[in-house]
């Protein structure tokens, strides 16, 4: 079964490269975490790379991404946050995107219109509605894309965001990354045929796609963004992917069926599949891919070096950024 390549060759190569960048960055992250260099939790994106890169490519630089779910690093990369900023943040260093105040779950880059996660699953959707409202009020045609996992759709906050987005027909694209698991709880037990069906009562456009196919994601998110940009209102997209990694590093995944897991790794690895697709069509060559990988490995190595060399924050920095001071009028003579 050969699949067409529906984008131009350059774009296709960028897709592959983007996915590889996530993969290589994350493999390194896993190593560094294993060596005790990275504090806190680490959640990786294996299996989601196509969804992340397809979505990121569909977005304009001025469109907001309000990240959600637990597969975050891939999304940061897809939105264009420089690898050193991300890695240094994972390390909790001053050179990190958030100066070490945030860590892996919180990378945010307002300049690049990445709205960071508040680390409570399902916390990005209402802010995304607000971001879209802000753009509308400022009379831009920028949109807000927001991601959430299958698990997160059970939270009421998600549904309320749908209500609000529909109420004012705001330019929001809701992307549900359904990887079949919320930690150990299978999405299969949820009632909807497709989680994008949650958009139906709101009369939103809904789509359910194979999210392991980077091009499918790219096209579907592009259309949704286009619609939102042109005043066509919100869309709910279910991007069906496989979680090819533990929930977080350290999760033993005793709850997963080994055969099924192996099958998914075979069949639903977005990078492997796309690689073959491009090779088959001579859009890339093996050496071309090796070069890509080598370049990315260098990038990633530099990111690690940057992170390692970036200083630990001074303890007193813990007291910074609680408030912007002085408060309004404070210290003035009234």
């Amino acid at each position: 079964m050969t699949q067409n390549v529906s984008v131009d060759d350059e774009t296709a190569r960028q897709f592959l490269e983007g996915m590889l960048r996530i993969d290589i960055f994350e493999e390194e992250t896993k190593e560094r975490f294993g060596e005790g260099e990275i504090p806190g939790f680490v959640h990786l994106s294996g299996g989601h790379e196509g969804s992340h890169i397809g979505m990121g490519a569909a977005m304009g630089d001025d469109d907001w991404l309000a990240v959600g779910g637990a597969r975050l690093i891939g999304q940061y990369i897809a939105k264009g946050v420089p690898l050193p900023d991300i890695m240094a943040e994972l390390y909790g260093r001053v050179g990190g995107s958030n100066k070490g105040h945030g860590g892996q779950m919180h990378v945010s880059d307002i300049g690049r219109k990445l709205y960071g996660h508040a680390a409570t699953i399902g916390s990005g959707q209402n802010p995304a509605v607000g971001l879209a409202l802000a753009e509308e009020i400022q009379e831009t045609d920028n949109v807000a894309v927001t991601t959430i996992g299958d698990g997160g759709t059970s939270r009421g906050s998600f549904h309320t965001a749908l209500v609000f987005a529909a109420y004012w027909d705001l330019p929001v694209v809701f992307v549900i990354e359904n990887n079949e698991w919320a930690i150990s709880t299978p999405a299969e037990s949820l009632s909807p045929d497709h989680l994008s069906d949650y958009g139906i009562p709101h009369k939103m456009a809904t789509e359910s796609i194979d999210g392991s196919d980077v091009e499918a994601v790219y096209h579907t998110v592009s259309e949704a963004i286009e619609r939102a940009r042109n005043g066509g209102g919100p869309t709910v997209i279910e991007s069906r992917v496989a979680r090819l990694v533990p929930h977080f590093e350290g999760d033993k995944e005793t709850y997963r069926d080994t055969d099924e897991y192996e099958r998914l790794k075979e069949e639903k690895d977005p990078i492997e599949n796309y690689r073959e697709r491009l090779l088959e069509r001579d859009i890339v060559t093996e050496t071309g891919i090796e070069d890509m990988i080598a370049n990315i490995e260098t990038e990633v190595k530099e990111a690690v070096e940057f992170a390692r060399e970036s200083p630990e924050p001074e303890p007193e920095a813990a007291y910074d950024h609680v408030y912007r001071t002085p408060l309004y009028g404070q210290g003035e003579n009234q």
Partner: protein
């Protein structure tokens, strides 16, 4: 030049003026349009500023608070109403985990210049979930600027500053004060956030009180033969402990009365700040007064029992002499 207006008028005027002054300011919440808010606090604003600037929302506090957060990050200055302060908890994740923390976890790179306001306090028979004073919850969550209003003057001047401030501000008018009247300047004014006001000077005892409790404290002291200094903290987070401490250094005595629940409420913390840092300025242990550790009951005799009365405040003051 001053003129007399009611407390809810002051609230409405603050929003009105800020809407007029700054295009980035918008107001939204449940029933803020024609209805004008449960206490009249948004009356006339929709007619004047239109539906783009003044928006009814669907009924969801999570939606309101979450949208405010996003809009603020996106460059707008949202002013969002929750119909009752108790609903801070109804948007709990947004209010406790998201809004106050997102600027911090971003390492200061993200700005959330939003104001949420919500009528607080007891006294109108609204029951356990419509009568709470929540500045103890909010003040215990670093990142919020928590502001109360005691008079129309406060309400207008502090709310305007809240809207202009670059931090997330939670502004808490008190519903029992809605119809009270007071003087405000004819001309535009704002009041500093983060600064307590010495409302009455006195030499014998410092009473810290805000909102309804301020008025009850004043009532309590009217008949006492004691020279009371009354301090209105205005902002509960950050707290201007220095103004309180300075007063106690003069008076030697401290009563803290507030409508939050006493256990882990504001009172013990404020008193302790003085005890711990200015112990030798005290001639007597401080006295704290708040809602005893019960929800607010509906029935008026029960509600009045749990809400600190002027008598209880007077007795508290006298107990220090």
């Amino acid at each position: 030049m001053t003129r007399e207006i009611t407390y809810v008028q002051a609230v409405a005027e603050a929003i009105d003026e800020e809407l007029a002054r700054d295009d980035d300011v918008i107001l939204f919440g449940e029933d803020v349009e024609e209805f004008g808010g449960n206490f009249g606090e948004t009356e006339g604003l929709y007619q004047k500023h239109g539906r783009d600037r003044v928006r009814n929302t669907p009924l969801s506090e999570i939606g309101i608070a979450g949208m405010a957060l996003g809009a603020a990050v996106g460059g707008i200055r949202p002013v969002a109403e929750l119909q009752f302060a108790d609903f801070a908890a109804t948007a709990g994740d947004e209010v406790f985990n998201q809004i106050p923390k997102q600027p911090y976890v971003s390492g200061g790179k993200l700005k959330a210049p939003l104001t949420i306001f919500a009528p607080s306090g007891a006294g109108i028979g609204a029951g356990a979930q419509h009568s709470q004073s929540v500045h103890s919850w909010l003040g215990n969550v670093p990142g919020w600027v928590v502001v109360t209003a005691t008079t129309p003057y406060d309400a207008k001047g502090l709310f305007k500053s809240a809207i202009r401030d670059d931090n997330p501000v939670f502004f808490l008018p008190h519903k029992m004060l809605s119809e009270t009247k007071g003087e405000v300047p004819e001309e535009e004014y704002t009041l500093a956030l983060g600064e307590a006001a010495v409302e009455e000077e006195g030499d014998d005892v410092t009473v810290v009180a805000t909102q309804l409790m301020f008025h009850r404290a004043r009532e309590a002291t009217a008949d006492l033969d004691i020279d009371v200094e009354i301090i209105n903290p205005r902002t509960f987070a950050p707290l201007d402990t220095e103004t309180i401490a300075e007063s106690v250094r003069k008076t030697g005595r401290l009563v803290v009365v507030d409508e939050t629940v006493e256990r882990y409420g504001t009172q013990g913390h404020i008193a302790n700040e003085i005890v711990e840092n200015d112990f030798f300025s005290l001639d007597a242990p401080p006295k704290t007064i708040g809602v005893k550790n019960v929800p607010i009951p509906l029935s008026p005799p029960l509600e009045q029992e749990v809400l600190p009365s002027a008598d209880r405040i007077a007795a508290g003051i006298e107990s220090l002499f």
